[in-house]
Symmetry: C2
Subunit: 386 residues, 2 copies
């Protein structure tokens, strides 16, 4: 089982159309690109590459997939939405002109999606990545139409996972753990950070993954103080923290398993922070349960860290949503205004750093249950000194 069944795609579209109607919108335009692929794929299974993609969804009636001029055969073979229009707004970023290839406009698309009806209010979904050419064309081709940010209409649906979605996530985490194990078995001092990534990539694809769940992490020394970073050609060394975060993607669902490791013992101060990080990681797991306010989890976590005297090492935490994207809504922040619900899925993401010198991240996935949190990964929740 490596895919969402057709009936689930139909149900998603029905529910999304209900949300569009409830928001007082006549239609919604959903946007994705090859990296930020989730919204369009959630509704259609289509996952663009090189080009971008949209879905124009009327409050009632058949939706239309919008693609670039080169993706026609690919989209016809993959998309669950069978009405497809090619538009120059979804072409490659290198901006080809495609002389002679016919394309549609948003006015054409709106007329097809809303036959005999007038478009007054159009919701925009994926607004953080909606690019200028799409926005300008909407303003030019749909004069007088009110453009309304409507990300919640889809992200609320995406935040509660179905049994099928959770099965895909379990599989993605299983493959991530295989890839982490291969790294632990094969890395040695002198190997570069990027060469370690190659071990994980090999295992992800060999074991049924379709892609990395995020740009993979393996880096040592001062780079471990980076909340976000990329692996380099730097050789791995003994007696320093090496941060490993490996995520596979399966059927559109992402995962990540993160742990700090070392060759031989770490200096005392580093080991102390690594061990406290793991303790804080387990503390978060205790705090998660359906019905709890997300902000309360954050406040309880922050108080725990403060009482133990580690606040100066804390940048943020302790959880963010995961699903199709390795980081997706909802975040868990002190300003969050929602309660945890059964079948929400989160990354427990425990990051601490000591200035720019060193840092560590423990990261595992969970599914929220009525009684607590079910772990989607758990094999690497212990200190590893190779």
């Amino acid at each position: 089982m490596k895919a969402i069944p057709d009936a689930e795609y139909q149900m998603r579209m029905t529910r999304f159309q209900a949300n569009i109607k409830a928001a007082g919108l006549d239609a919604a335009l959903v946007h994705s690109n090859e990296a930020d692929f989730a919204n369009v794929r959630y509704l259609t299974e289509y996952w663009p590459t090189f080009e971008t993609a949209g879905v124009f969804v009327p409050a009632e009636g058949p939706p239309i997939l919008l693609i670039g001029p080169e993706s026609e055969n690919y989209a016809r073979g993959r998309s669950k939405v069978t009405n497809i229009e090619m538009m120059v707004e979804y072409r490659e970023s290198a901006d080809p002109e495609y002389p002679g290839i016919p394309v549609a406009t948003f006015a054409d698309v709106a007329a097809k999606a809303l036959p005999g009806r007038t478009l007054h209010r159009l919701g925009l979904v994926g607004t953080t990545i909606l690019p200028l050419p799409v926005y300008e064309s909407l303003q030019r081709d749909l004069p007088g139409v009110e453009l309304v940010k409507a990300d919640d209409a889809l992200s609320d649906l995406r935040s509660i996972k179905s049994d099928t979605e959770i099965a895909l996530m379990r599989e993605a985490f299983r493959i991530s753990e295989i890839a982490v194990e291969a790294i632990l078995n094969e890395i040695k001092p002198g190997m570069t950070e990027l060469q370690a990534i190659g071990i994980a990539q090999r295992e992800i694809y060999a074991n049924g993954g379709e892609y990395e769940g995020h740009a993979l992490y393996c880096f040592g020394g001062p780079a471990t103080s980076n909340a976000i970073s990329r692996p380099t050609h730097r050789p791995l060394k003994a007696h320093e923290i090496i941060q490993v975060n490996i995520g596979a993607r399966v059927g559109g669902y992402s995962s990540s398993v993160g742990l700090p490791i070392s060759f031989g013992p770490l200096p005392v101060e580093q080991k102390r922070l690594v061990e406290f990080g793991l303790e804080a990681h387990f503390k978060t797991l205790e705090l998660l349960r359906a019905g709890r306010p997300a902000a309360q989890v954050v406040l309880d976590y922050e108080r725990f860290v403060e009482e133990r005297g580690f606040s100066e090492y804390m940048l943020y935490g302790p959880c963010h949503g995961i699903g199709m994207m390795e980081v997706e809504r909802p975040w868990m922040e002190s300003s969050s205004e929602y309660e945890l619900q059964e079948n929400m899925t989160f990354q427990v993401d425990t990051f601490f750093c000591s200035g720019g010198e060193f840092g560590l991240r423990w990261e595992n996935g969970v599914r929220i249950t009525r009684d607590g949190a079910e772990k989607l990964s758990s094999r690497f929740m212990k200190l590893v000194e190779l």
Copy 2:
């Protein structure tokens, strides 16, 4: 040698600032995301992940790198531009709030970059990917400032490659060829398309690559008719075209080597198109030379294909720019208005398909010279029946 030297980054910035001034602009705002990373990395070496990035470049004086709130340590360790501001507009697409973390506005940035001067005209670079939050903040925080599309100010610089850039591209193509060779040695019927990709990923990282140059291709059967596609869990079969396009990235420079292969002989009609494709591929190589109008290359190629009776199988071609992105400006189209210049680099990209049934792509990189085209890859320009 795996990186552009600092002096070259300084020269790029100087030239870009000259272009900004020549365009009558007071400053330019350059945008990149993790997938479409090239513009910001060209100027700063910084390559975002999860978050996005910008560079605010005044016509004179020091530029400022703009990042999301989580990337500070990473950016300080990597960016050649040392003035760095964190802004909420460059945060992750999942839209965290970051309560309590201080961020700058575009008004703050403009004041720092243009001390004592007034910003009248701001050029935008990377407009095909510039997202709504950046655009809305510019309109809100810089009222009265004229926003001007200025992609040419940077893409013209990027289109002529330095010796260092060409050395990095040669290395990327060398690794791509190693990865293709590994696939040819190891794939067999019954292996999935995605498992073949894992072989290439392993070789890219083991041999000094920093990432894939593009989402890698390996797919068989009807999917070969897709100009753009993605590998799947479909098993590879004998006696059908299997399209392989593998690209490594080194030091920010991308490559791709593409060829159709098969297990055992192909049906006559498929083999005929594969062989004609290779002939057309060599024809394009003959047509390239500094001083030739790009549009003339396209017209000559199209006439060759027509005279040989294969026009119905042609979707587009025959070349697109390559450099940091595997597909970047300039495209070579019948509407192109530029002449080929020495040290422009192109992918000779020869794609033919028979309806939705089958297709093939031959693809190799070249550097334009005064006398012709120097191949950056050439090991796999022959029919391979395994």
